[in-house]
Symmetry: C2
Subunit: 356 residues, 2 copies
C-alpha cells in the first residue's frame, strides 16, 4: 500500500494522458477536483490487487462522453458518488475500493475523487492499459465480466441503472443516455469481486502512469521524448507541424482526422492521424504505421508533454509516438474487440514493431 499525495496526482494525471493516447479528456479539471478532495480528506491509499481479499467488491468509476463537452460542462463532483452508491445499493454490498477502468486523462482522476471522498482505497490496475472510446472495450470483456449493474449520474441529480444482456448493449444504452443528459455523465460500472479482478484487470497502471509523469518532470530540460520512449519501449513515428484538423462531435464522440507535414528528419513527409476520442490510426504517406490497440500519442515536440485530441490545432509542432499495447489486446479476441475493424476501418492490425 502506498499513499498518494498532491504531487503524485500531478504525475499520474500527466502520465495517464500519455497512456490516454489523446482521449479520456483533459485531466486538468479532474485533477483539481481530486487534489481539493485530498486536501480536505487526506492522501489516497493506492493498493495492489494482491493486497485485496478475493471476496471484496471493487467498483470502477469514470466520466463518460465527449471530452470536447466535458471542458465546458463542469461536473458537480457528486454525480460520480451518486453513481457509485447506486451500484452499491443495487448489489446490496459495500465496495472495498474503486479504480480507473481506463487510464486516460480525466478518468485517471475521477476514481481519486471517489476514493478521497469516501475514504476508500484505489486499486493499482485498470481495464485498458490506455484509453478507449467504448464501454465494452476493456479486458474484463475478454474474461466474460459484465459491465452491469452500471449506474450513470449527471450534475442535475438524474440517475440511470442498467442491467444488460451484453456489454455492447450497455455501450449503446449508456451512450444514448449520456447524449440525452448533455453528452457528459459520471458512471460506475464493471463491479467485480477481487477474485475476478485479479484475472480481468491490467496491473500496475497507476504506478506506471506516475513513473511516466515523474520522468517527464525530471527530464523537462533534456531529451524528454527519448526518456519516454525508453520507459515505454516505444518508437518515434514521425514529427512535424499540424497543417489541418477536421473534427466533429457525433453521437457523443469527438471524431476527427488531422494532417501533419513532416519537419527535421521527416521533412517532406506527409502524415495522417485518425481519432475517435482516442488516436486510432497513424499513416506515413498513406501507409499505416501504427494501429489501435497499440498506443499512438501526440506530444509537444519540445517538452514531450502529451496533447489530447481536443488540444490538437493547426500550427502545433508535434512528435507522434507509438507504444506497444498489452499482450491481452494482441490476441484474436482482443483484436476483434479493439482492432481497427472494431472502429469501422477496413484495415488489419499492424503490429508496431513490424511496421517500417
Amino acid at each position: 500500500m502506498t499513499l498518494l499525495d498532491l504531487e503524485d496526482l500531478d504525475h499520474i494525471a500527466l502520465g495517464a494522458t500519455v497512456l490516454g493516447t489523446g482521449g479520456g479528456g483533459d485531466p486538468t479539471l479532474g485533477k483539481l477536483m481530486a487534489q481539493q478532495a485530498v486536501r480536505r480528506h487526506g492522501p489516497i491509499q493506492l493498493v495492489s490487487l494482491d493486497e485485496v481479499a478475493d471476496e471484496a467488491w471493487l467498483i470502477p468509476t469514470a466520466m463518460m462522453g465527449a471530452p470536447t463537452v466535458l471542458v465546458e460542462k463542469i461536473p458537480s463532483g457528486t454525480e460520480v458518488l451518486d453513481a457509485f452508491r447506486m451500484v452499491e445499493h443495487h448489489l446490496h454490498s459495500r465496495a472495498f475500493a474503486t479504480l480507473s477502468i481506463e487510464a486516460g486523462g480525466v478518468n485517471s482522476m475521477i476514481p481519486m475523487l471517489v476514493a478521497a471522498h469516501l475514504g476508500i482505497p484505489i486499486i493499482d490496475a485498470d481495464g485498458m492499459g490506455r484509453a478507449f472510446p467504448e464501454i465494452q472495450m476493456v479486458t474484463p470483456s475478454l474474461h466474460g465480466v459484465s459491465a452491469t449493474p452500471m449506474a450513470i449520474g449527471d450534475e442535475k441529480g438524474n440517475r440511470v441503472l442498467l442491467e444488460t444482456v451484453d456489454n455492447f448493449w450497455t455501450e449503446r444504452l449508456a451512450r444514448t443516455a449520456t447524449v440525452s443528459l448533455g453528452c457528459s455523465t459520471a458512471v460506475a460500472l464493471y463491479p467485480m469481486q477481487a477474485r475476478v479482478a485479479k484475472k480481468a484487470l491490467l496491473r500496475g497502471t497507476l504506478s506506471l502512469a506516475r513513473r511516466i509523469g515523474q520522468t517527464l518532470h525530471a527530464t523537462a530540460a533534456h531529451e524528454p521524448i527519448e526518456a519516454l520512449l525508453e520507459l515505454l519501449r516505444g518508437r518515434r513515428l514521425g514529427q512535424g507541424k499540424i497543417t489541418d484538423v477536421r473534427r466533429q462531435t457525433q453521437q457523443g464522440f469527438a471524431r476527427g482526422e488531422l494532417d501533419i507535414r513532416g519537419t527535421g528528419p521527416d521533412a517532406g513527409v506527409s502524415f495522417r492521424l485518425a481519432f475517435q476520442n482516442e488516436n486510432l490510426l497513424f499513416w506515413r504517406e498513406d501507409q499505416p504505421q501504427a494501429t489501435v490497440p497499440d498506443l499512438i500519442t501526440v506530444v509537444d515536440e519540445q517538452s514531450g508533454r502529451p496533447v489530447t485530441t481536443e488540444g490538437l490545432q493547426y500550427g502545433l509542432r508535434v512528435a507522434v509516438l507509438g507504444f506497444p499495447s498489452h499482450a491481452q489486446w494482441q490476441t484474436p479476441a482482443g483484436l476483434a474487440l479493439v482492432g481497427p475493424r472494431a472502429f469501422g476501418y477496413e484495415i488489419d492490425y499492424v503490429p508496431l514493431h513490424a511496421s517500417t
Copy 2:
C-alpha cells in the same frame, strides 16, 4: 372487488380504445396475451382504490414506444414482469397491485397480463382517463408524484432503472432508451402508495371502459354512435371519408395529420385531424373544434368501433367524436401539462362545449 373474465377483457380492450383516442396501440395483441394468462391463471381481481390499505404499494405497468412498431415487434410477455420486479427490488417492497397508467388500447391490457401472471389485483383507476404520448402527462404529475423509480425492460432481457429530478427528465431518458431498444419497451413507473394514489389517480376508468365495450357490443346493430355519445356525454364533431393521411415515426412517436372530406350532414365540409400517437386537434374548415386534453376519437361510421392512429387509412368512412376530459385536466396546471401548447401547437385549449 370484481372478477374479470375473458369477455370482460374483450369489453375493456374495446372501451379503452375509445378512451385511447387513437393511441396506446392496437389492443389486439395485448388482449390475446392477457386472455391467455387468464386462461392459465384464472380471472383477475379488479379492486377499487377504496378497498386498498393506505400503505400498500401500487406499481403501474405499460408498453412504451411507437404503436406502429409494436405491431411488428412482438413482446415476449416477460419484459413487463422484469420491469415490475426491478422496481419492487429497488423499493425493497412488494407491490399489492398493478394498474393502467393510461387507459388507451394495449396499455389497458398490459397490467392485466402482470396481474394474471403474478396473482395480484388490478386497480380500477388510471393516470389519464384517456391516453397521452408522454410519461409526464399523467394526473400524478399534478400531485407531485415522481415517475421514478421507473424500470424499462425489452424482449431481449435488457433492463434500465431511472431515478430522475423530474418527470420531464424521465420522459426524455426513457424515450431515448426506448428508441435505442428498438422503439418499443415494457415499463413499470409511478410506483406509489395507495394513500397518494387515492388523490392522484382518476377512479373507475376500467369499469367505464368495460361499460363502453358492453355498449358497443349491445348496440352493434342499431345506433352505436348515439349510445356512445350518451354514455360519455360527447358530441359528434363530423363525419366523412379520409382523403389523405400523412405520417412519420419520429423520435419514437407516430406523428401525422389526416384530411377528411365531409359526407351526409357534413357534405362539402373539410376536416383535419392532427395526431402524435393520440389524436390531438380537430379542425372544421380550419377552425379548431376540439383540442387536447378533450378526447377526440375516430370511429367507423357504421359500427361505431374506434380506429387507432395506425389503422387510419385513405378511403375509410368515419365519424369523429369528442368527449370532455376529466376536470383535473381543465385546470391551469392541467392545461400547462397537456394542453395544445404542450404538444407544440400555437393555439389555446377550446373547451369542447364552447366550440361551434
